[in-house]
């Protein structure tokens, strides 16, 4: 504990100083108006105190000019805050393209974290400084919230779907990780640390915690053992089921004629509840995997499907098969998932 009372939390990400700037502006506005109103009140209360029980002040009906003035001024101030803040919010919630992905599963009352290189952590997240990190998060039970005050970032973790959160740490150190959405008995124990390291140290840490199965490899094994290969092909080239290679992030036409973006949430839904959004031209033949795969395993499958889109010498190169007569994905540039 510091010897003096801190008034500002540690600032350790690229957005935190931007959030703080708005915070200080707002604090200034608040302080100004609170002091202004208080000063006027005190002045009036003293100046116009009742001097005799018989005095009846002259009535004043009001003033449209003043009303307009004090409607417009607060409105303009409010709009400056709104616009500024909305811009930063977009930055906070739109994950960048080239971020390092980390998978997070919340459960009562712990955070399970897996790096795309396979390392697993519980209630701890090691990240390198100066690198964009994107968290792909879901939960096995109730709603949680991944909150790192030093990064001024939080996002709810909602059952049944993926949410994302991203940050770029600017300072090495150890920071609080809190669950900010009440989640039951040990809610206040669902805390941990985010450890920001120098890139070199981080690499050391990675090798020190070497894991021989990356999520993508584990996903590939699951892809085999669950029998996905029989319809989607060993490398996702498709067959009785739609092509998976190159699918991630693309626009996909559905049976009903609508299109969806094949993002994490769509892929997850299609694994757990395949009938919900059938790809155009395919029958409802895929069984549901609800209850058969854990959230961790879904994330591994996802990592595998994602890995199919880039040529990767370690994963046997995906045959993005334009030969398939039933190719249903249109190659459009990947839009933002949000």
């Amino acid at each position: 504990m510091q010897s003096w009372i801190p008034l500002v939390p540690e600032s350790a990400s690229t957005v935190s100083s931007k959030v703080d700037a708005i915070y200080f502006y707002l604090s200034g506005v608040t302080l100004f108006f609170t002091l202004l109103i208080s000063a006027i009140l005190v002045f009036f209360v003293v100046r116009y105190r009742r001097r005799s029980p018989y005095e009846i002040p002259r009535p004043i009906a009001g003033s449209h000019k003043l009303e307009t003035l004090w409607t417009i001024i607060p409105f303009v101030i409010a709009m400056t805050i709104f616009g500024w803040s909305a811009r930063v919010y977009f930055e906070q919630y739109r994950p960048p393209q080239n971020a390092m992905e980390v998978y997070v599963v919340g459960k009562q009352w712990m955070w399970k974290i897996q790096h795309s290189t396979g390392q697993r952590e519980i209630n701890e997240l090691h990240v390198p400084v100066g690198r964009k990190i994107k968290l792909i998060m879901t939960t096995e039970d109730v709603i949680h919230d991944f909150f790192v005050p030093a990064f001024r970032m939080k996002a709810d973790v909602v059952p049944g779907k993926y949410t994302t959160e991203w940050f770029e740490a600017t300072k090495t150190g150890t920071y609080h990780l809190f669950c900010a959405e009440y989640c039951g008995m040990n809610h206040s124990g669902m805390i941990g640390q985010v450890i920001v390291m120098e890139p070199r140290e981080f690499d050391n840490w990675l090798t020190g915690n070497l894991s021989n199965t990356t999520p993508a490899v584990a996903g590939q094994q699951l892809f085999q053992s669950l029998g996905c290969v029989s319809c989607h092909g060993a490398n996702g080239e498709g067959g009785r089921g739609p092509t998976l290679a190159g699918l991630y992030g693309k626009q996909t036409r559905l049976a009903g004629g609508e299109t969806v973006v094949a993002d994490e949430s769509y892929l997850r839904e299609s694994i757990l509840n395949p009938q919900a959004k059938l790809v155009e031209g395919f029958g409802p033949i895929m069984p549901t995997f609800q209850g058969q795969v854990s959230e961790d395993q879904v994330m591994q499958l996802l990592a595998f499907i994602k890995s199919l889109q880039v040529t990767n010498p370690q994963q046997s190169a995906p045959a993005a098969s334009p030969t398939s007569t039933r190719a249903t994905t249109q190659a459009t540039p990947r839009p933002n998932p949000k």
Partner: protein
């Protein structure tokens, strides 16, 4: 003017609504809005002190960071029940069901509310909801937070969710019936000459409150009902395992529960408008702006619920719209604050206890409202939501706003309600203690929240302790301050000085009849030929049951 001296104020009539009938039955079966107001007053005070006990336990637990006083399960129940009791059983009915019930008919010159039996029914429904909830608390309590977020509340919590939900569901109907009664009464039962723009602002704010009550409460009622069924039947629309969306619950819940904040604070704004005008003997600056800003708040209040979902994966565009609307709803509140302040210009201000509460209200509400902007603003909300900053903000609105207004109003109309004066010295002292205690409790929480302390934490990292110690110290002062009015108001019912019909020398209709009023409020249906807040020298205001202009013409 000279003619006035010819009239002696008639001696206060011995028969009033309190002594018109005796016996428990005469109270439990009463259809008199004033007696029902007293029934409510007793009941909400009871619930207020239960809620206060929970608050005390929360503050004691948080004195140390380890979470050593209560177990986490107990603590979770304590803060949940603090919220449920305070919001549904104290704050929402506080001003409307007591002061509103007592004064809405009197201020518009009616003999009663439009549906007296429905009014009594609403109290019984309130009590039934209260009994069910108390049963749930005694049987084992509930630990979902007052927000009942799914799927925790439907599937994971092992506490009395259904019973508590039922209590809140039932209680909701009492607030619907109160709102319905007010709307009909204000529309159809105004005395001759009491036009819409002669209505005291207290009436306008109650009209706006009633709109929210009838439009919002049914939505939370059906939501809680579906939640309870979902828990019992283990299937339903919020269950993600079946393709349901837990976020839908949050939308439905906040569609009511955000406007519910305005149910709490709008009546209080009405009281403050009365206090500011009457204790400075000045008509409200910009009457129509203050009146319509109440309606604007009621309408806009329904369009901002999404600002509770900025961090729940709601789309960024939805976030922007809700943020914009949330800033917009702040404007009518700002207009009110400026108009109240301007009213004091060149006025004649007395320092009676109710006025102290009103001045306190303006200051605290300004802080509460301005800190609301931090949460309406998207980027800062991402950091601040679900932290102690939020806790501090809504306590500034609900305690600093709603409760201050309620206490101010209670003191102001106490002579009319009870026929006795409260002790002025003690009143001012208590107001000061409460003001100091309140600020000491909640100001540090803004800082703790900004530093990142999440709400609903039973144990917390030690660096937050200093703020919690300050907060607990403040809460002790606040709790002590609350006891003082409770004691002297009860004391005054027996030993207080007898109140005159019009102890403050004011023009409002409620002061133009004896204290306490007779059962039908007025001897004759009054005819209103004056504007709201038209002040005259005290000796003219003394005359009971008669009106200045009549005397002038006589």
């Amino acid at each position: 003017m000279r003619a006035i001296e010819a009239f002696e104020p008639p001696p206060p009539s011995k028969v009033n609504y309190i002594n018109a009938q005796y016996g428990l039955k005469s109270w439990l079966l009463t259809k008199d809005h004033k007696r029902i107001a007293l029934l409510y007053l007793g009941s909400i005070t009871f619930f207020f002190f239960i809620g206060g006990l929970y608050a005390l336990m929360i503050r004691l637990e948080l004195l140390t960071p380890q979470g050593d006083l209560l177990q986490s399960t107990t603590y979770n129940k304590v803060f949940t029940q603090h919220g449920i009791i305070m919001i549904f059983f104290f704050l929402i009915p506080s001003i409307p069901a007591t002061l509103g019930n007592f004064l809405v008919p009197m201020m518009i010159g009616a003999k009663d509310l439009a549906f007296p039996r429905v009014n009594l029914l609403s109290w019984y429904i309130y009590m039934l909801g209260g009994v069910i909830t108390i049963y749930a608390l005694l049987a084992g309590g509930v630990d979902t937070g007052w927000t009942f977020y799914t799927p925790f509340s439907t599937t994971f919590s092992n506490s009395y969710v259904v019973a508590t939900g039922l209590g809140i569901f039932v209680n909701g109907f009492s607030s619907i019936l109160t709102g319905l009664n007010f709307i009909v009464t204000i529309h159809t039962m105004r005395a001759p000459g009491m036009t819409w723009f002669r209505l005291p602002l207290f009436i306008w704010s109650h009209y706006a409150t009633s709109l929210i009550m009838i439009l919002g409460t049914p939505v939370v009622a059906i939501t809680i009902l579906l939640l309870a069924f979902e828990r019992v039947a283990r299937v339903g629309i919020f269950d993600p395992a079946l393709g349901g969306d837990p976020i839908l619950f949050q939308h439905l819940f906040w569609f009511y529960s955000h406007p519910a904040v305005y149910i709490m604070v709008l009546p209080s704004m009405g009281v403050v408008s009365e206090l500011i005008a009457n204790f400075s003997r000045k008509n409200i600056f910009g009457y129509k702006f203050v009146a319509f800003s109440s309606l604007a708040i009621a309408v806009f209040g329904f369009l901002v619920w999404g600002h509770h979902l900025f961090v729940t994966s709601q789309s960024v565009y939805a976030g922007m719209i809700f943020s914009f609307l949330s800033f917009a709803v702040a404007i009518p509140s700002a207009i009110k604050v400026f108009n109240w302040t301007a009213t004091l210009f060149k006025s004649s201000i007395s320092y009676d206890t109710p006025m102290l509460y009103a001045l306190g209200f303006i200051g605290l509400f300004t802080i509460g409202g301005m800190t609301g902007l931090f949460l309406a603003s998207l980027a800062t909300d991402v950091h601040l939501s679900d932290t102690y900053f939020v806790v501090a903000h809504f306590h500034y609105i609900m305690v600093g706003g709603a409760l201050m207004g309620y206490l101010g109003g209670l003191h102001y109309w106490w002579p009319k309600i009870s026929g006795r004066m409260y002790p002025e010295g003690w009143g001012r002292f208590a107001a000061l203690v409460i003001f100091v205690g309140f600020n000491l409790t909640f100001l540090p929480q803004f800082v703790a929240g900004y530093l990142g302390m999440p709400r609903r934490y039973h144990a917390y990292p030690p660096e937050f302790q200093v703020f919690n110690v300050l907060s607990t110290a403040g809460a002790s002062i606040l709790g002590f301050g609350m006891l003082i009015p409770a004691i002297y108001l009860v004391w005054s019912m027996r030993y207080g000085k007898h109140a005159e019909a019009n102890p403050w020398h004011l023009p409002g209709l409620e002061w133009r009849t004896q204290s306490p009023p007779p059962t039908e409020n007025f001897e004759h249906t009054p005819i209103v030929d004056w504007e709201a807040y038209e002040f005259a020298p005290p000796e003219e205001m003394e005359v009971v049951g008669r009106f200045r202009r009549e005397l002038e013409t006589a």
